[in-house]
């Protein structure tokens, strides 16, 4: 994007260069040039003087009024000059007034010149035709004719010289605008450090070199101007004709873009993103090239690092999943072996077993079951957030009710669902897992024969917040962080069976969809779990965000 913008700037500049003849074109003949210069300098000086005066007048508040006043002044001065060179009755009635008309047209334009013409014709009639210096309304035909001819001539002179005046003013203003633009462009180009902006002529010789190019390539501006731009290419590319090839593409397609290997002044290579744009004049004639390049070595390195990190992250993630899967399977089969052997011992020994041994065998099988559940839960935990399950419409009220019916053992713990509960399009498995574990915990850990679980929901800016609160024993502040950890239980497993993985699964499931889970409890009057759930989730996006977060963290 930014490269394109530079290319447009570059184009403007070369077009400007096109408009003013360059030194190279002018240097064909030395003698011609000097005569032309002397000749030009007088004309230029005059024009410049005229225009500067005009601009000075125009810049004042009543520029136009002054222009007309100036024309009047010219006319009066002209009258005095006429009186100086000949007596009143000495003829030369009109011819001597042309200078003021011409000067007015040159200095201040056609309008004031016309005023001057009118003024002069009146003055000529008054002063230089008999009766001299008297107003008369008896017109002789030759006087009328002369006056008309003068007016017509004055009109022609005013219009033609006025048009020239207009042309010069326009030209100068355009030139000024262009100069400003060029200066701006040059300032931008000079202030750019990260991009090398180079202008090439039609043959590929370097004709401009910005500080960015200096920084990227190491050449000073004076060293490189006039050199062929292939100096920036590696030797191998030069031999293969790549510089010409690149220019060829720019000529044929208007633009060449690629990641090229470039060589710095001291010989070290670097990777650059290069854009070469062919620059054409108004008639489509090729006038040169703009080459904008940027050293992307660092970017490439960063990209590589990112790919590497991504790969590492995916790999370790896969490994972890694989580990959890394999571990729970491979750990389970010997466990089952132990279980079976214990059963066979009990079967085979039958009556020979003492009560103590029977009890020990029972405890052993109990521990085996516990271990099996731990492994199952570990596996389930490792799979949370990885199921690419479909997005379905879920009525959360029904979901919560169903879960409660499934879990409850009619111990007197009631379920109270507050209105309204949202109906949302989401991934069912993790949401169900969260509610199941929270409701299950509330029932399992309740310390009174009767109680109530309250469930409510409200919308947030980008989703919902669900609240599951109970009136059980609560969780003391010290333990509130612990409960979300893996295999954390607050009571011994012999008192309350549980692997201690439920809440860590809740946390993982909520976070896997981009939500947050919090716990509030004073440690005596029950606890309140709040979790947020986004309105829309896509598993793929989630994975990407976690990867990115991971990278930023690194």
């Amino acid at each position: 994007m930014s490269l394109n913008r530079f290319a447009i700037f570059a184009k403007t500049k070369l077009v400007l260069n096109d408009a003013t003849p360059t030194d190279r074109e002018g240097s064909t003949s030395g003698i011609k040039k000097t005569t032309k210069l002397a000749h030009d300098s007088i004309l230029d000086g005059l024009i410049r003087l005229l225009i500067r005066c005009y601009e000075m007048i125009q810049r004042t508040k009543y520029g136009d009024v002054y222009s007309y006043l100036l024309a009047i002044v010219f006319s009066i001065v002209n009258l005095f000059l006429r009186l100086l060179i000949a007596p009143i009755e000495g003829g030369l009635q009109f011819i001597t007034f042309f200078p003021c008309v011409a000067l007015s047209a040159m200095f201040v334009g056609a309008g004031p010149a016309l005023l001057s013409t009118a003024l002069c014709s009146v003055m000529a009639g008054y002063f230089f035709f008999p009766p001299y210096m008297q107003l008369t309304f008896e017109f002789h035909s030759d006087v009328v004719l002369s006056t008309l001819v003068f007016c017509l001539d004055g009109l022609i002179v005013s219009m033609s010289i006025g048009a020239m005046h207009r042309y010069f003013i326009d030209y100068r203003q355009t030139a000024e605008v262009m100069q400003n633009k060029e200066a701006q462009f040059q300032m931008i180009v000079d202030s750019i450090r990260d991009y090398a902006i180079i202008m090439l002529d039609v043959e590929g010789n370097i004709i401009s070199w910005n500080p960015g190019a200096e920084q990227n390539n190491g050449y000073q501006k004076n060293d490189i101007l006039g050199q062929h731009f292939s100096i920036l290419y590696p030797q191998e590319d030069i031999e293969n004709g790549k510089p010409e090839h690149d220019l060829g593409i720019a000529i044929n397609e208007g633009r060449f873009e690629d990641e090229n290997l470039r060589i710095r002044k001291e010989g070290s290579p670097y990777k650059a993103n290069v854009v070469i744009t062919a620059i054409r004049g108004s008639r489509g004639k090729l006038s040169g090239f703009a080459e904008i390049s940027c050293d992307i070595t660092e970017r490439k390195k960063a990209e590589m690092r990112m790919h590497h990190l991504l790969y590492e992250y995916t790999r370790s993630n896969d490994e972890l999943n694989n580990f959890a899967y394999v571990a729970s399977h491979d750990l389970k089969s010997p466990l089952r072996g132990i279980d079976q052997l214990a059963t066979w011992l009990a079967e085979d020994l039958g009556d020979q077993l003492s009560d103590g041994t029977k009890k020990h065998l029972h405890l052993m099988r109990n521990r085996i079951q516990r271990m099996e559940r731990l492994l199952d839960d570990l596996l389930a935990y490792s799979r949370v957030g990885h199921t690419d399950d479909e997005i379905v419409k879920i009525n959360t009220r029904d979901l919560v009710q169903d879960i409660y019916e499934m879990i409850t053992d009619n111990r007197g713990i009631q379920l109270d669902i507050a209105d309204p509960m949202p109906v949302l399009q989401t991934s069912k498995v993790p949401l169900e897992l969260v509610f199941r574990n929270l409701i299950n915990n509330a029932i399992k850990h309740h310390d009174k024969p009767e109680g109530c679980i309250r469930i409510s929901a409200h919308t947030t800016t980008d989703g919902y917040e669900f609240v599951v609160s109970d009136d059980g024993p609560g969780i003391a502040a010290d333990n509130q962080k612990r409960v979300f950890g893996m295999f954390q239980t607050l009571k011994s497993r012999d008192e309350v069976e549980g692997s201690g993985i439920g809440l860590s699964m809740v946390k993982k499931a909520v976070e896997s969809v981009g939500g947050k889970v919090t716990l509030e409890s004073d440690g005596t009057h029950g606890c309140t779990f709040r979790f947020t759930w986004p309105k829309t989730i896509t598993a793929k996006i989630l994975n990407v965000t976690t990867v990115e977060e991971k990278q930023y963290a690194n």
């Binding site: 491979d330 089952r336 079976q340 099996e372 199952d376 596996l379």
Partner: protein, 146 residues
């Protein structure tokens, strides 16, 4: 019982499992149920295929009880080989494994297994499974794989 057994050809159980205790469990269950069908055991997929491809090694018909997690060649790999084998592709295969993973179940059923049995679900040893099989081959006609 013996008269019953005369009426159908005895089905060979090809047991492919690397866990000795599980194999013992199956033998125990068979003994308890007084099922006298021949049992041929292999420790992994390779061994299993070798035995199955040897026409003298086992009496036909047979059913295969296949574990998934095994060294060298696991159950799913062996199943794929089996389905590509022109002679053995019609074999009746039951998966008998500790894996509850959905991927495993789907992958196994995609290879046209007759049933997927999870070992920890079998309760009292393999008694229920073996009881089921005893009924299964009385009722179900098996292909005569040559």
């Amino acid at each position: 019982m013996p008269t019953d057994r005369q009426q159908y050809r005895e089905v060979t159980i090809v047991l492919i499992d690397d866990d000795d205790v599980d194999v013992m469990g199956i033998h125990r269950a068979l003994n308890k149920l007084r099922i006298l069908n021949p049992v041929v055991r292999a420790r992994d997929g390779f061994e299993g295929l070798t035995i199955l491809r040897d026409p003298q090694a086992i009496q036909r018909p047979f059913i295969i009880l296949l574990d998934i997690n095994m060294p060298r060649m696991n159950g799913l790999e062996m199943l794929a080989e089996l389905r590509n084998d022109p002679v053995l592709s019609s074999s009746v295969v039951f998966i008998l494994t500790t894996s509850k993973a959905d991927e495993d179940k789907v992958a196994a059923y995609q290879q046209h297994i007759a049933g997927y049995i999870v070992k920890s679900n079998v309760g009292n040893g393999f008694l229920q499974v073996m009881e089921m099989f005893d009924r299964y081959w009385r009722v179900v006609e098996l292909p005569e794989v040559s």
